[in-house]
C-alpha cells in the first residue's frame, strides 16, 4: 500500500509537471502562430491568388488552440493537486476536443504545403503579373496583390521570376501582352538597381550581361518562409500533441486511481 501511495504521488507530480510544460508550449504555439499570421515576408497575396491559403487557416487555429492548451493546463494542475474526479474528467474531455482541433491544424498545414509547388507559382506569375484586363473585383484584387508582391520580391531579394529571367522568354504571359519583347525581355525589376531605384545599366540589363541583371530565380525566397511557416505549425504542433498524449494517458490512469 505504501508503495502504491508513493507511486501515485509520483504520478501526481509528473502530471503537474506535464501540465506546466503543456501550458508553456501552448503559449509558445500561440506566439508562433501569431508571428506567421502577421506575414512578415509579405507572401500572403501569392497564396490568396492560388485560392489555397489553408496554411494560414492552420495558423489561425493554432493561435486559439495554443491558448486553450494554456487554460486547460491550469485546470489540469488544479485537478491533479486537489484529486478532484470531476475536474479531471472535465479536463480530459476538453483536452480531447482541443487535441482534435490541433490535429486538424497540423494535418492541414502539412497537406497544403505539399500543394505549393514551383510550377504553381510560375503559372500564377505568368498569368497574373501585370495583367491589365480583369474580369471582376476579386480578380482585380488578386492581380494587384500578385503584381505588388512580385515587384517587391524581385527588388528586395535581387532575383527574377520563379526559376530565372528565362521564365519570361520561355512562356507567354500577361506581362508580355502589355510590354513588348524587345524593350522588356524581362521586367524592369529584374535589373540591378542603383540607390535611386533605376537600373544601373538598362542596355546591359536588356542584353542580359551578368552583373546588370538578376539571373537567379525567386523560388528560394518564396519557399523558405513558406516552409518555415508550414513545418513550424505542423511539427511543433505534432510535438505538443505527442507530449499531451502522454500527459492525458497519465491523467486517465490517475483518475481511475482516485477514490471519490
Amino acid at each position: 500500500m505504501a508503495k502504491s501511495d508513493d507511486g501515485i504521488r509520483i504520478l501526481q507530480g509528473l502530471l503537474v509537471f506535464g501540465n506546466v510544460v503543456i501550458g508553456m508550449c501552448g503559449i509558445a504555439l500561440t506566439a508562433e502562430c501569431i508571428f506567421f499570421v502577421s506575414d512578415p515576408h509579405g507572401l500572403y497575396p501569392l497564396l490568396e491568388a492560388t485560392e489555397n491559403d489553408d496554411i494560414y487557416a492552420a495558423a489561425w487555429i493554432g493561435i486559439f488552440v495554443g491558448f486553450a492548451f494554456f487554460a486547460l493546463s491550469i485546470l489540469g494542475i488544479v485537478g491533479a493537486i486537489k484529486c478532484n474526479r470531476t475536474l479531471l474528467l472535465v479536463y480530459i474531455i476538453l483536452m480531447l476536443i482541443t487535441y482534435a482541433f490541433e490535429m486538424a491544424s497540423c494535418i492541414t498545414a502539412a497537406t497544403h504545403r505539399d500543394f505549393l509547388t514551383p510550377n504553381l507559382f510560375l503559372k500564377q506569375m505568368l498569368e497574373r503579373y501585370h495583367k491589365l484586363e480583369t474580369v471582376n473585383n476579386n480578380d482585380k484584387w488578386m492581380t494587384e496583390g500578385v503584381t505588388k508582391t512580385w515587384d517587391k520580391l524581385m527588388l528586395q531579394n535581387q532575383c527574377c521570376g520563379v526559376w530565372g529571367p528565362s521564365d519570361w522568354q520561355e512562356y507567354t504571359s500577361a506581362f508580355r501582352i502589355t510590354y513588348n519583347d524587345a524593350d522588356f525581355p524581362w521586367p524592369r525589376n529584374c535589373c540591378v538597381m542603383n540607390a535611386q531605384g533605376s537600373p544601373v545599366n538598362l542596355d546591359g540589363c536588356k542584353l542580359g550581361v551578368p552583373g546588370y541583371y538578376n539571373s537567379n530565380g525567386c523560388y528560394d525566397a518564396i519557399s523558405g518562409p513558406m516552409n518555415t511557416h508550414a513545418w513550424g505549425v505542423a511539427w511543433f504542433g505534432f510535438a505538443i500533441l505527442c507530449w499531451t498524449f502522454c500527459v492525458l494517458l497519465g491523467t486517465m490512469f490517475y483518475w481511475s486511481r482516485i477514490e471519490y
Binding site: Q169, G208, S256
Partner: protein, 256 residues
Amino acid sequence: HSRLRHPGARTMLPLLLLLLASAHGLKKLGYTPTLAKSPLGGLTTASTFVLEQPRCVFSKEQDDAVIWLVVAVPQAVANFNNSVEPGTAERAFQSFPTHNPAYMTLNTTILNYPCPKPPGEITVLRVGSETSCAENEMRPTCNGPLPGPGPYRVKFLALNSSGPVAETAWSDPITLKTAKPPSTIPTMESGHSAGMITLTSILSVLFAILLAGLVAMLVFWGSDAYGGSSTFSKPEAVTVRRYNTHHVYDQTAARL
C-alpha cells in the same frame, strides 16, 4: 550551271565571273557573322538577337565605306542582289518578310569597329532593339524587332558611293525563341510528401488510443460502483481501515 560544248569554256566561266567581281570591286571576306561569344542572358529572345561586332574584318581600303547589316530569310540568300540600295522599298524593314525577303540596317562606318578589340570589352550588336520606328515607313533602315522566330541569315555588306565594295559570308541560320503558353505548365503532379503521411498516421493512431482510453475510463467508472479496487486516499480525508494490530503498528510508523 549550264554545260558548254567548247572544252575551253570550263576555265572561261570562272575567269569571267572573277573579272565581273573585280570589275565591281566586291571583295568577299572570309568572316562569318556569329552570335555573340560572351554569355548573355538575352542572346536570343523572341524578337531580338545579339551578334558579335565585325572587328578587324574590314580592312583599310574600305575606310570610306558604310557597313550595313543585311538580315534575310534563308530562301533569299541564293539570289541576293548586293546592288540594291539600302533605304529603298525593296530593302525596307517595315515590309519584311511579307513583301521583301531581306532588309538592311545598322549602318555605320568602320570607325565604330576599331581594330584591335580591347580585351574584356563586350562588343556586340543587338538586332531588333529599336521599337520606336518599327511601324514608321519613313524609316526603312529601322533596326526593329524581328517579326517571328525565323530562322534568319545575316551578313555584313560594305557600300561606298560607287556601290558594294566588300561583303562577309552569310551566317548560319539563327532561330529565335518561341514562347509556350502558360497553360502547358503542369501543376497537379504533386504527391503527398513522406512527412505529411507520417504526421497524419501517427496523430491518428494517438488520437484513437486516447479515445479508447476515455471509453475504458468511463466503463471503469461505471463498474467502479460495484466495489473498490485499490484507491488513493486524499491527504485531508480521515482513513478508517480495519487492520490487525500488527499492520497498524507498521502503518503508523510509516506515516511518521
